[in-house]
């Protein structure tokens, strides 16, 4: 993880989230969830627009100033054109933006899809519809994660995404101490202390962001 100053806005406690979703309904809802959680939101309808906003499309983008820095990207998985997964890859390939946490949202809880995203460096995989508690937890984690890293314990997120831990067969009941009562609990990279003790549940509870939808 890069030095916190690069990720969090200096002097400001407000997180700036870039939300990417082709569904107008979902954009409106995620925007509201984020605003209620005191985040600044930029909502765009495609991966292409997201890259344009970040300035990764070759243009200058809209991030000329520190105050517009993006602290978190939340993207839908299934989008026409560039999928959320492809967007994730592009962001992780960029030296300027690879440290920005990327969360994938999807209405489908397909294990291979989840694994692929986590392996590519996604922080979390949220099953839609996204709840306020998901957003609050994300926000807390990012804010806490920055403090943890300042405190010295720095762990690269990818460390938890290796395949040395067998997939959990019951992904719907996470039992890490940090898991919230809801089934969608999943430790974030900032939950380092406990996650290092319970590496298997960490892996499985990232998968535990499954809810029986269809």
């Amino acid at each position: 993880m890069a030095v916190a100053g690069e990720v969090l806005p200096s002097g400001s406690q407000e997180l700036h989230v870039l939300a990417v979703d082709d569904s107008h309904v979902d954009r409106k809802v995620i925007e509201k969830l984020l605003k209620i959680s005191s985040c600044k939101v930029t909502a765009v309808e495609s991966g292409t627009r997201a890259l344009q906003f970040l300035g990764l499309d070759g243009g200058k983008g809209s991030l000329g100033f520190n105050s517009f820095k993006v602290n978190l990207i939340m993207t839908d998985y299934s989008m026409p054109g560039m999928t959320g997964y492809e967007l994730l890859k592009k962001i992780k390939q960029s030296s300027a933006f690879r440290e920005i946490p990327v969360v994938i949202m999807s209405s489908e809880n397909v294990l291979t899809r989840i694994d692929r995203c986590l392996e590519e460096g996604a922080e979390e995989f949220l099953v839609k519809p996204v709840k306020l508690s998901d957003v609050k937890r994300l926000k807390d984690c990012i804010m806490r994660g920055e403090k943890e890293e300042n405190g010295g314990r720095r762990v690269h997120k990818r460390k938890f995404e290796d395949d040395s831990h067998p997939p959990s067969s019951t992904p719907t009941s996470p039992s890490t101490p940090l898991a919230s009562p809801s089934l969608t609990a999943a430790p974030f990279a900032c939950d380092i202390a406990t996650s290092e003790l319970l590496s298997s549940p960490l892996h499985s509870s990232k998968r535990a962001k499954l809810r029986n939808s269809d």
Binding site: S23, H24, V25, D26, K28, V29, K32, L33, K35, I36, S78, S107, K128, P129, K131, L132, S213, D214
Partner: protein, 153 residues
């Protein structure tokens, strides 16, 4: 105060029936909770977007299913998938459930089944649209009478 109480009672009863009959699920309640002074029309706005989506997507599905020279089931499925997503996000449960069945028929490339689902989803859409518009009207009446909208869990 009597008028307000009466309207509020009506609202609660209506809201409860919508849930009981499966027109909306908990996600709808969650959206109602997000509404606040800074966005007093939030739910109505989301509903409008949802209705727009329904119209557009149902049209897409109808056109695709009409193709005489062979139905592009992937295209139909793509629209159904989007509709399922929207309906799930607003909590329109019955519409969502038809979409789930619809997708199976798309996967099976079953034209008959798809056509039936199209009819069903069109029907459910018009039902939930009416129901929600009635609910929103009740809300407006309460507010106009000077009352506040009760929270129904």
């Amino acid at each position: 105060m009597d008028v307000i109480n009466q309207l509020q009672r009506q609202f609660i009863d209506y809201s409860t029936s919508l849930h009981r009959e499966g027109f909306v699920d908990d996600q709808f309640t969650q959206l109602q909770k997000l509404q606040d002074e800074s966005s007093p029309d939030f739910v109505v706005e989301v509903a409008s977007l949802f209705f727009e989506d329904c119209e557009k997507l149902i049209n897409n599905m109808a056109r695709a299913l009409e193709q005489q020279q062979g139905v592009d089931f992937k295209q139909v499925d793509a629209s159904v998938h989007q509709l399922k997503g929207s309906s799930s996000s607003i909590g329109a449960m019955r519409v969502k459930n038809v979409c789930i069945a619809f997708r199976s028929f798309c996967e099976a490339q079953n034209r008959e089944g798809c056509s039936r689902c199209l009819q069903q989803v069109t029907h459910e859409y018009s039902l939930v649209k009416n129901k929600l518009q009635t609910l929103f009207r009740l809300e407006q009446q309460i507010l106009a009478a000077g009352g506040s909208i009760p929270v129904v869990e």
